[in-house]
Protein backbone atom coordinates (compact mmCIF):
# COMPACT_ATOMS: atom_id res chain seq x y z
CA UNK A 1 0.00 0.00 0.00
CA UNK A 2 1.22 3.52 -0.80
CA UNK A 3 2.50 5.76 2.01
CA UNK A 4 -0.02 7.65 4.14
CA UNK A 5 -0.77 11.29 3.37
CA UNK A 6 0.35 13.75 6.08
CA UNK A 7 -2.33 16.27 6.94
CA UNK A 8 -1.15 19.18 9.12
CA UNK A 9 -3.91 21.36 10.58
CA UNK A 10 -4.69 23.87 13.30
CA UNK A 11 -8.03 23.41 15.11
CA UNK A 12 -8.50 27.18 14.80
CA UNK A 13 -8.13 27.18 10.99
CA UNK A 14 -11.30 27.44 8.83
CA UNK A 15 -9.53 26.04 5.77
CA UNK A 16 -8.11 23.27 7.96
CA UNK A 17 -11.66 22.41 8.97
CA UNK A 18 -12.84 22.30 5.35
CA UNK A 19 -9.86 20.13 4.41
CA UNK A 20 -10.54 17.82 7.35
CA UNK A 21 -14.05 17.22 6.05
CA UNK A 22 -12.71 16.20 2.66
CA UNK A 23 -9.28 14.65 2.92
CA UNK A 24 -9.99 11.13 4.16
CA UNK A 25 -12.54 10.56 1.38
CA UNK A 26 -10.15 11.94 -1.21
CA UNK A 27 -7.28 9.77 0.04
CA UNK A 28 -9.47 6.66 0.23
CA UNK A 29 -10.38 7.02 -3.46
CA UNK A 30 -6.69 6.46 -4.20
CA UNK A 31 -6.08 3.75 -1.59
CA UNK A 32 -4.30 6.04 0.86
CA UNK A 33 -4.51 6.53 4.61
CA UNK A 34 -4.27 10.00 6.18
CA UNK A 35 -2.15 10.87 9.23
CA UNK A 36 -3.68 13.85 11.02
CA UNK A 37 -1.05 16.13 12.59
CA UNK A 38 -2.12 19.12 14.70
CA UNK A 39 0.08 22.24 14.62
CA UNK A 40 -0.03 25.79 15.98
CA UNK A 41 -0.32 28.53 13.38
CA UNK A 42 0.75 31.09 16.00
CA UNK A 43 4.23 29.56 15.95
CA UNK A 44 4.55 29.62 12.19
CA UNK A 45 3.11 33.15 11.92
CA UNK A 46 6.00 34.30 14.09
CA UNK A 47 8.45 32.65 11.69
CA UNK A 48 6.88 33.89 8.46
CA UNK A 49 6.04 37.35 9.82
CA UNK A 50 2.33 36.89 9.05
CA UNK A 51 -0.71 37.76 11.14
CA UNK A 52 -3.99 35.83 11.09
CA UNK A 53 -5.77 36.53 7.78
CA UNK A 54 -8.72 38.21 9.44
CA UNK A 55 -6.46 40.73 11.17
CA UNK A 56 -4.85 42.00 7.96
CA UNK A 57 -6.19 45.19 6.29
CA UNK A 58 -8.26 44.46 3.15
CA UNK A 59 -7.51 40.72 3.42
CA UNK A 60 -9.53 40.45 6.61
CA UNK A 61 -12.94 41.28 5.16
CA UNK A 62 -12.30 39.17 2.06
CA UNK A 63 -11.14 36.19 4.11
CA UNK A 64 -14.30 35.94 6.17
CA UNK A 65 -16.35 36.09 2.97
CA UNK A 66 -14.11 33.44 1.41
CA UNK A 67 -14.37 31.10 4.43
CA UNK A 68 -18.15 31.20 4.11
CA UNK A 69 -18.28 30.93 0.33
CA UNK A 70 -15.69 28.12 0.29
CA UNK A 71 -17.76 26.19 2.85
CA UNK A 72 -20.83 26.52 0.61
CA UNK A 73 -18.76 25.52 -2.41
CA UNK A 74 -17.61 22.34 -0.64
CA UNK A 75 -21.09 21.81 0.87
CA UNK A 76 -19.74 21.84 4.42
CA UNK A 77 -21.71 23.54 7.23
CA UNK A 78 -19.90 26.62 8.57
CA UNK A 79 -20.63 29.47 10.92
CA UNK A 80 -17.87 32.07 11.38
CA UNK A 81 -17.14 31.95 15.14
CA UNK A 82 -17.64 35.04 17.31
CA UNK A 83 -14.16 34.53 18.76
CA UNK A 84 -11.49 34.03 16.12
CA UNK A 85 -8.80 32.85 16.16
CA UNK A 86 -8.49 30.98 19.46
CA UNK A 87 -5.92 28.74 21.11
CA UNK A 88 -6.01 25.15 19.91
CA UNK A 89 -3.42 23.83 22.37
CA UNK A 90 -5.76 21.83 24.63
CA UNK A 91 -7.65 20.12 21.81
CA UNK A 92 -4.36 19.33 20.05
CA UNK A 93 -2.87 17.68 23.14
CA UNK A 94 -6.01 15.61 23.70
CA UNK A 95 -5.95 14.61 20.04
CA UNK A 96 -2.34 13.37 20.28
CA UNK A 97 -3.12 11.47 23.47
CA UNK A 98 -6.10 9.76 21.77
CA UNK A 99 -4.08 9.08 18.63
CA UNK A 100 -1.58 7.02 20.62
CA UNK A 101 -4.36 4.67 21.63
CA UNK A 102 -6.72 4.69 18.65
CA UNK A 103 -6.03 6.79 15.52
CA UNK A 104 -9.57 6.29 14.19
CA UNK A 105 -11.13 7.53 17.44
CA UNK A 106 -8.74 10.49 17.41
CA UNK A 107 -9.96 11.45 13.94
CA UNK A 108 -13.59 11.25 15.08
CA UNK A 109 -12.60 13.51 17.96
CA UNK A 110 -10.81 15.97 15.66
CA UNK A 111 -13.81 16.31 13.37
CA UNK A 112 -16.08 16.76 16.40
CA UNK A 113 -13.82 19.53 17.74
CA UNK A 114 -13.86 21.28 14.37
CA UNK A 115 -17.67 21.05 14.22
CA UNK A 116 -18.02 22.29 17.80
CA UNK A 117 -16.02 25.40 16.89
CA UNK A 118 -16.98 26.10 13.27
CA UNK A 119 -20.61 24.99 13.34
CA UNK A 120 -21.79 25.29 16.94
CA UNK A 121 -19.57 28.20 17.98
CA UNK A 122 -18.29 26.51 21.15
CA UNK A 123 -15.08 27.78 22.75
CA UNK A 124 -12.78 24.83 22.13
CA UNK A 125 -9.85 26.76 23.61
CA UNK A 126 -11.21 25.84 27.07
CA UNK A 127 -9.72 22.52 28.18
CA UNK A 128 -13.04 21.59 29.86
CA UNK A 129 -14.89 22.05 26.56
CA UNK A 130 -12.26 20.15 24.57
CA UNK A 131 -12.52 17.31 27.12
CA UNK A 132 -16.34 17.37 27.08
CA UNK A 133 -16.24 16.85 23.30
CA UNK A 134 -14.17 13.71 23.89
CA UNK A 135 -16.95 12.51 26.19
CA UNK A 136 -19.55 13.25 23.52
CA UNK A 137 -17.53 11.02 21.17
CA UNK A 138 -17.84 8.15 23.67
CA UNK A 139 -14.29 8.63 24.92
CA UNK A 140 -12.99 9.17 28.47
CA UNK A 141 -13.36 12.92 29.08
CA UNK A 142 -11.67 12.89 32.50
CA UNK A 143 -8.62 11.14 31.08
CA UNK A 144 -8.62 13.57 28.14
CA UNK A 145 -8.62 16.52 30.53
CA UNK A 146 -5.74 14.95 32.46
CA UNK A 147 -3.80 14.49 29.20
CA UNK A 148 -3.89 18.27 28.69
CA UNK A 149 -1.62 18.75 31.69
CA UNK A 150 0.46 15.59 31.27
CA UNK A 151 4.09 16.73 30.78
CA UNK A 152 4.77 13.84 28.42
CA UNK A 153 1.85 14.84 26.12
CA UNK A 154 2.77 18.53 26.36
CA UNK A 155 6.26 17.68 25.24
CA UNK A 156 4.97 15.39 22.49
CA UNK A 157 2.96 18.27 21.01
CA UNK A 158 5.79 20.77 21.34
CA UNK A 159 8.15 18.39 19.55
CA UNK A 160 5.55 17.72 16.83
CA UNK A 161 5.10 21.44 16.14
CA UNK A 162 8.87 21.93 15.92
CA UNK A 163 9.19 18.96 13.57
CA UNK A 164 6.44 20.38 11.35
CA UNK A 165 8.23 23.71 11.10
CA UNK A 166 11.49 21.94 10.35
CA UNK A 167 9.70 20.16 7.49
CA UNK A 168 8.57 23.50 6.04
CA UNK A 169 4.98 23.60 7.28
CA UNK A 170 3.78 27.22 7.56
CA UNK A 171 0.02 27.09 7.13
CA UNK A 172 -3.17 25.08 7.63
CA UNK A 173 -4.06 22.85 5.94
CA UNK A 174 -0.63 21.71 4.83
CA UNK A 175 -0.42 18.34 3.12
CA UNK A 176 2.40 16.08 2.04
CA UNK A 177 1.87 13.39 -0.57
CA UNK A 178 5.08 11.36 -0.86
CA UNK A 179 7.06 14.38 0.42
CA UNK A 180 5.46 16.77 -2.10
CA UNK A 181 4.09 19.77 -0.13
CA UNK A 182 0.67 21.30 -0.81
CA UNK A 183 -0.61 24.34 1.09
CA UNK A 184 -4.33 25.04 1.28
CA UNK A 185 -7.62 23.29 0.64
CA UNK A 186 -7.51 25.05 -2.74
CA UNK A 187 -4.67 22.72 -3.71
CA UNK A 188 -6.96 19.66 -3.52
CA UNK A 189 -7.34 19.54 -7.32
CA UNK A 190 -3.54 19.37 -7.62
CA UNK A 191 -3.38 16.77 -4.83
CA UNK A 192 -5.96 14.68 -6.65
CA UNK A 193 -4.00 14.98 -9.91
CA UNK A 194 -0.84 13.90 -8.04
CA UNK A 195 -2.62 10.92 -6.48
CA UNK A 196 -4.25 9.79 -9.69
CA UNK A 197 -1.44 10.17 -12.21
CA UNK A 198 1.65 10.56 -10.04
CA UNK A 199 4.16 13.41 -10.01
CA UNK A 200 3.64 16.05 -12.72
Amino acid sequence: MAAPIDFYFDFSSPYGYLAGELIDDLAARYGREVRWRPILLGITFKLTGNAPLTQQPLKGEYSIRDFQRSARYYKVPFQYPKQFPISSVAASRMFLWLQEQDPAAAKRYARAVYKAYFVDGRDISMAETAAAIAGECGLDSAAALAANSDPRIKDLFKTAVEAATARGVFGSPFIFVDDEPFWGVDRFPQIEAWLSRGPF
Copy 2:
Protein backbone atom coordinates in the same frame (compact mmCIF):
# COMPACT_ATOMS: atom_id res chain seq x y z
CA MET B 1 -25.20 40.24 -22.33
CA ALA B 2 -24.01 39.77 -18.73
CA ALA B 3 -21.55 42.28 -17.25
CA PRO B 4 -17.84 41.88 -18.02
CA ILE B 5 -15.56 40.17 -15.51
CA ASP B 6 -12.96 42.44 -13.92
CA PHE B 7 -9.50 40.89 -13.91
CA TYR B 8 -6.91 42.71 -11.78
CA PHE B 9 -3.31 41.61 -12.25
CA ASP B 10 0.30 42.67 -11.74
CA PHE B 11 2.69 41.95 -14.61
CA SER B 12 5.17 40.72 -11.99
CA SER B 13 2.75 38.12 -10.54
CA PRO B 14 3.21 34.43 -11.52
CA TYR B 15 -0.36 33.55 -10.51
CA GLY B 16 -1.57 36.61 -12.44
CA TYR B 17 0.22 35.24 -15.50
CA LEU B 18 -1.39 31.80 -15.08
CA ALA B 19 -4.81 33.43 -14.63
CA GLY B 20 -4.24 35.60 -17.70
CA GLU B 21 -3.65 32.49 -19.79
CA LEU B 22 -6.97 31.01 -18.65
CA ILE B 23 -9.50 33.71 -17.87
CA ASP B 24 -10.70 34.82 -21.32
CA ASP B 25 -11.45 31.23 -22.33
CA LEU B 26 -13.25 30.59 -19.04
CA ALA B 27 -15.32 33.77 -19.37
CA ALA B 28 -16.15 33.07 -23.02
CA ARG B 29 -17.63 29.69 -22.09
CA TYR B 30 -20.23 31.62 -20.10
CA GLY B 31 -20.75 34.44 -22.58
CA ARG B 32 -18.71 37.00 -20.65
CA GLU B 33 -16.09 39.53 -21.64
CA VAL B 34 -13.04 40.22 -19.45
CA ARG B 35 -11.73 43.69 -18.57
CA TRP B 36 -8.00 43.48 -17.83
CA ARG B 37 -6.90 45.93 -15.12
CA PRO B 38 -3.21 46.25 -14.20
CA ILE B 39 -2.32 47.04 -10.57
CA LEU B 40 0.83 47.31 -8.46
CA LEU B 41 1.22 44.69 -5.75
CA GLY B 42 3.88 46.85 -4.08
CA ILE B 43 1.15 49.33 -3.17
CA THR B 44 -1.19 46.70 -1.68
CA PHE B 45 1.65 44.96 0.17
CA LYS B 46 2.25 48.24 2.00
CA LEU B 47 -1.42 48.35 3.01
CA THR B 48 -1.74 44.71 4.07
CA GLY B 49 1.69 44.55 5.68
CA ASN B 50 2.77 41.65 3.42
CA ALA B 51 6.03 41.08 1.61
CA PRO B 52 6.37 39.29 -1.74
CA LEU B 53 5.74 35.55 -1.20
CA THR B 54 9.23 34.58 -2.20
CA GLN B 55 10.79 36.86 0.43
CA GLN B 56 8.93 35.26 3.36
CA PRO B 57 10.67 32.58 5.47
CA LEU B 58 9.34 29.05 4.77
CA LYS B 59 6.73 30.43 2.33
CA GLY B 60 9.42 31.54 -0.10
CA GLU B 61 10.78 28.13 -1.00
CA TYR B 62 7.29 26.62 -1.18
CA SER B 63 6.01 29.44 -3.38
CA ILE B 64 8.60 28.98 -6.09
CA ARG B 65 7.83 25.25 -6.14
CA ASP B 66 4.11 26.02 -6.28
CA PHE B 67 4.49 28.53 -9.15
CA GLN B 68 6.23 25.84 -11.17
CA ARG B 69 3.89 22.99 -10.23
CA SER B 70 0.79 25.14 -10.79
CA ALA B 71 2.05 26.07 -14.26
CA ARG B 72 2.47 22.38 -15.08
CA TYR B 73 -0.98 21.65 -13.63
CA TYR B 74 -2.56 24.29 -15.90
CA LYS B 75 -0.29 23.25 -18.80
CA VAL B 76 1.13 26.76 -19.16
CA PRO B 77 4.83 27.25 -19.98
CA PHE B 78 6.73 28.85 -17.08
CA GLN B 79 10.30 29.61 -16.16
CA TYR B 80 10.91 31.23 -12.78
CA PRO B 81 12.66 34.53 -13.65
CA LYS B 82 16.16 35.24 -12.35
CA GLN B 83 15.00 38.67 -11.17
CA PHE B 84 11.82 38.50 -9.12
CA PRO B 85 9.75 40.49 -8.42
CA ILE B 86 10.34 43.48 -10.70
CA SER B 87 8.61 46.77 -11.38
CA SER B 88 5.63 46.48 -13.69
CA VAL B 89 4.96 50.22 -13.98
CA ALA B 90 6.14 50.76 -17.56
CA ALA B 91 4.29 47.76 -19.03
CA SER B 92 1.14 48.74 -17.11
CA ARG B 93 1.16 52.28 -18.47
CA MET B 94 1.69 51.04 -22.02
CA PHE B 95 -1.12 48.55 -21.53
CA LEU B 96 -3.54 51.30 -20.42
CA TRP B 97 -2.51 53.48 -23.32
CA LEU B 98 -3.17 50.64 -25.77
CA GLN B 99 -6.44 49.73 -24.07
CA GLU B 100 -7.83 53.21 -24.77
CA GLN B 101 -7.39 52.60 -28.49
CA ASP B 102 -7.97 48.86 -28.88
CA PRO B 103 -8.78 46.60 -25.89
CA ALA B 104 -8.16 43.42 -27.90
CA ALA B 105 -4.69 44.60 -28.96
CA ALA B 106 -3.97 45.58 -25.36
CA LYS B 107 -4.77 42.02 -24.23
CA ARG B 108 -2.48 40.58 -26.88
CA TYR B 109 0.20 42.95 -25.57
CA ALA B 110 -0.43 41.93 -21.94
CA ARG B 111 -0.10 38.24 -22.71
CA ALA B 112 3.06 38.94 -24.70
CA VAL B 113 4.54 40.88 -21.75
CA TYR B 114 3.73 38.03 -19.37
CA LYS B 115 5.34 35.50 -21.74
CA ALA B 116 8.41 37.71 -22.18
CA TYR B 117 8.91 37.75 -18.41
CA PHE B 118 7.73 34.31 -17.28
CA VAL B 119 8.82 32.22 -20.25
CA ASP B 120 11.69 34.08 -21.91
CA GLY B 121 13.09 35.76 -18.78
CA ARG B 122 13.24 39.23 -20.32
CA ASP B 123 13.42 42.24 -18.02
CA ILE B 124 10.03 43.83 -18.66
CA SER B 125 10.72 46.45 -15.98
CA MET B 126 12.82 48.30 -18.58
CA ALA B 127 10.60 50.71 -20.54
CA GLU B 128 12.58 49.98 -23.71
CA THR B 129 11.87 46.26 -23.39
CA ALA B 130 8.18 46.83 -22.62
CA ALA B 131 7.96 49.06 -25.70
CA ALA B 132 9.85 46.57 -27.88
CA ILE B 133 7.25 43.93 -26.97
CA ALA B 134 4.54 46.29 -28.28
CA GLY B 135 6.48 46.44 -31.54
CA GLU B 136 6.68 42.62 -31.65
CA CYS B 137 2.86 42.61 -31.37
CA GLY B 138 2.62 44.78 -34.49
CA LEU B 139 1.93 47.92 -32.45
CA ASP B 140 3.74 51.27 -32.44
CA SER B 141 6.68 50.79 -30.08
CA ALA B 142 7.86 54.42 -30.24
CA ALA B 143 4.39 55.65 -29.28
CA ALA B 144 4.24 53.03 -26.50
CA LEU B 145 7.57 54.27 -25.13
CA ALA B 146 6.26 57.83 -25.20
CA ALA B 147 3.10 56.75 -23.33
CA ASN B 148 5.31 55.62 -20.43
CA SER B 149 6.26 59.22 -19.73
CA ASP B 150 2.96 60.84 -20.71
CA PRO B 151 1.64 62.63 -17.59
CA ARG B 152 -1.95 61.82 -18.55
CA ILE B 153 -1.23 58.05 -18.76
CA LYS B 154 0.84 58.14 -15.58
CA ASP B 155 -2.06 59.75 -13.79
CA LEU B 156 -4.54 57.29 -15.35
CA PHE B 157 -2.56 54.35 -13.91
CA LYS B 158 -2.14 55.97 -10.50
CA THR B 159 -5.88 56.60 -10.30
CA ALA B 160 -6.63 53.03 -11.43
CA VAL B 161 -4.40 51.54 -8.72
CA GLU B 162 -6.06 53.71 -6.07
CA ALA B 163 -9.52 52.73 -7.31
CA ALA B 164 -8.57 49.05 -7.15
CA THR B 165 -7.43 49.39 -3.57
CA ALA B 166 -10.62 51.27 -2.70
CA ARG B 167 -12.56 48.34 -4.15
CA GLY B 168 -10.71 45.90 -1.86
CA VAL B 169 -8.15 44.49 -4.30
CA PHE B 170 -5.06 43.28 -2.41
CA GLY B 171 -3.57 40.53 -4.57
CA SER B 172 -3.00 39.23 -8.09
CA PRO B 173 -5.00 37.82 -9.73
CA PHE B 174 -8.07 39.41 -8.19
CA ILE B 175 -11.33 38.91 -10.02
CA PHE B 176 -14.80 40.34 -9.68
CA VAL B 177 -17.81 38.57 -11.13
CA ASP B 178 -20.88 40.79 -10.66
CA ASP B 179 -19.14 42.45 -7.67
CA GLU B 180 -18.30 39.11 -6.03
CA PRO B 181 -14.53 39.14 -5.24
CA PHE B 182 -12.26 36.15 -5.89
CA TRP B 183 -8.56 36.15 -5.02
CA GLY B 184 -6.16 33.79 -6.74
CA VAL B 185 -6.06 31.51 -9.75
CA ASP B 186 -6.96 28.75 -7.29
CA ARG B 187 -10.44 30.30 -7.04
CA PHE B 188 -11.16 29.51 -10.70
CA PRO B 189 -13.31 26.47 -9.77
CA GLN B 190 -15.45 28.74 -7.57
CA ILE B 191 -15.56 31.39 -10.32
CA GLU B 192 -16.72 28.75 -12.78
CA ALA B 193 -19.41 27.55 -10.34
CA TRP B 194 -20.55 31.17 -9.91
CA LEU B 195 -20.68 31.75 -13.66
CA SER B 196 -22.49 28.50 -14.41
CA ARG B 197 -25.11 28.38 -11.66
CA GLY B 198 -25.12 31.93 -10.26
CA PRO B 199 -24.46 33.04 -6.69
CA PHE B 200 -24.09 30.20 -4.16
